[in-house]
Amino acid sequence: MQQTTTEQLVIVTPGETIMEDNEGYLLGHGTYLDDDNRVVASKCGIVERISQYISVKPLQSRYMPRDGDVIVGRISKLTHSSWVVDINGYQDAILRLSSVNIATTQRRKTYEDSLNMRALFVEDDVIVAEIMDSKKFVSLQTRSARYGKLSKGIFIKVKPMLIKPSHNRFHTFSFGTEIIIGANGYIFIRQFDPQRERVAKQTNPFSLGHTVKQEEEEKKVNQQPVVNSQEHMINMIRVRNAVAALDKLLLPIHPDTILKVVEASRTLEPKYMIEHEHMLTMTASIRS
């Protein structure tokens, strides 16, 4: 079987043999074992070998969920005890009622709670959550005060492969825009709210009870009308267009690269950022 190389890259197509014998190797995505114990590629892409682990990295694929990933999702429907969430994967994920915190507390959910699910999230709501378990069903949890419903911002979808693994998915730029880069390619951009941050820091997700004071604070934060001034909105739009440009040109999407593009775009009006020539000039420093 032929394998072509481009500067040490081994490119394979489905059916090509990667290894004659699978002795001791762990097979990852994009490979399979045929009847003669050969490791064969099942996707087009580049062979990745990390010590004993072999996989084929395709250049375009859906998001593969992993435990602990923080993702942004959209509620697709409700069942009697859970929400079904679209996370840009092969299957929708499940957010069980038992995996959310109601009013910053962690307690056994009662029958009334299951009747009141709509008070928390309804269809089409955008949420940020963490993947709890991705073995059989992908299940999510929103037990931290940082997780939960996202609103008053801009949602944008990019290719999951452009998002690098990172510990912190919440990033705030110096000009006041907060961006949540979900590992699954869904991104939410909103105005940074110091009040909300304070409440999030104060509330301890592992506390068994709750104090009346915390609940009141939470209510205050949610009820305050978030006024996005025009300057804030223009900044959010700049960030959104920067992300769109990086996605179009297949560049890594990371707060550093986004910041570079936004800075390079300061001379343009935001609406011109999405034109192709401007995209190329703005991203010149990253592409070199």
């Binding site: 890259l9 197509t13 489905p14 087009c44 580049i46 092969y90 299957q91 297949l250 592409r287």
Partner: protein, 243 residues
């Protein structure tokens, strides 16, 4: 007076030699909304195949342990010489839809996606013989574009027998000449034939020859498709800045 399908100098009606396949051109990833897609030309036959999924099952039952593959084949009204309004439910379309589904089942690694469905839509926009072959080739490329794991390529080519010669990759005129038409689907790495159909009758002595002609044609198509797909991976890797 019967039409001559092979001239005295050994050329067919479109100037090809008996074992030559038609010119192939393809382009993947045309539709951003589809998981994968491919525009495929085999001579004058032009098809577009789009693939959606694997995704949540929307119609029919979901199977525990594997994905369901749904295929739909349809011809545009302007695809043939005469404009003819066609529904998707006519017998020929349904037969070819089933054919696509059964053939693709032999290569798609469906166990990797339990309780999901993969939709394959094949649209013929210009028909000049060998539409089911073009659709199978395009479907393989579209599935690859969607990142769906396959055991192997599925390459498809038809062969026939006219003027005492086995002919590879028949066009419409040669197909309607009344001779045998043998489309096959071939898995290049294993060398297995995944699908074989035959129109008209053929004597046993000629059958092996015609089958071999079709397999040779499929092998030629495989090298073209494989090269094209590799080129695309190289280009994408370059644009992504991988070293």
């Amino acid at each position: 007076m019967s039409t001559e399908f092979i001239s005295p100098s050994g050329l067919r009606l479109d100037g090809r030699r008996p074992h030559e396949i038609r010119h192939i051109h393809f382009q993947q990833n045309l539709f951003p909304k589809a998981s994968g897609s491919c525009y495929f030309e085999q001579g004058n036959t032009k098809v577009i195949v789009t693939v959606y999924g694997p995704r949540e099952v929307t119609r029919g039952i979901s199977l525990m342990g594997r994905a369901v593959i749904n295929c739909e084949y349809s011809m545009a009204t302007f695809a043939t010489g005469e404009r003819r309004p066609r529904g998707k439910g006519d017998r020929r379309s349904m037969e070819i839809s089933q054919l696509l589904q059964k053939t693709l089942e032999s290569v798609v690694l469906v166990e990797k996606f339990p309780r999901t469905q993969i939709d394959v839509f094949a649209h013929v926009i210009q028909a000049d013989g060998g539409t089911r072959c073009a659709c199978l080739n395009a479907a393989t490329l579209a599935l690859m574009d969607a990142g769906i794991p396959l055991k192997d390529f599925v390459v498809s080519c038809a062969a026939g027998y006219l003027d005492n010669t086995p002919l590879c990759d028949l066009n419409f005129v040669e197909d309607s000449a009344g001779g045998p038409d043998l489309p096959i689907a071939y898995l290049p790495t294993s060398g297995n034939v995944a699908m074989i159909q035959m129109d008209s009758k053929v004597s046993l002595d000629h059958f092996e020859n015609i089958l071999e002609t079709a397999i040779q044609g499929a092998k030629q198509i495989y090298s073209i498709l494989q090269r094209g797909v590799e080129e695309r991976v190289k280009e994408l890797a370059k644009s992504k800045g991988l070293s």
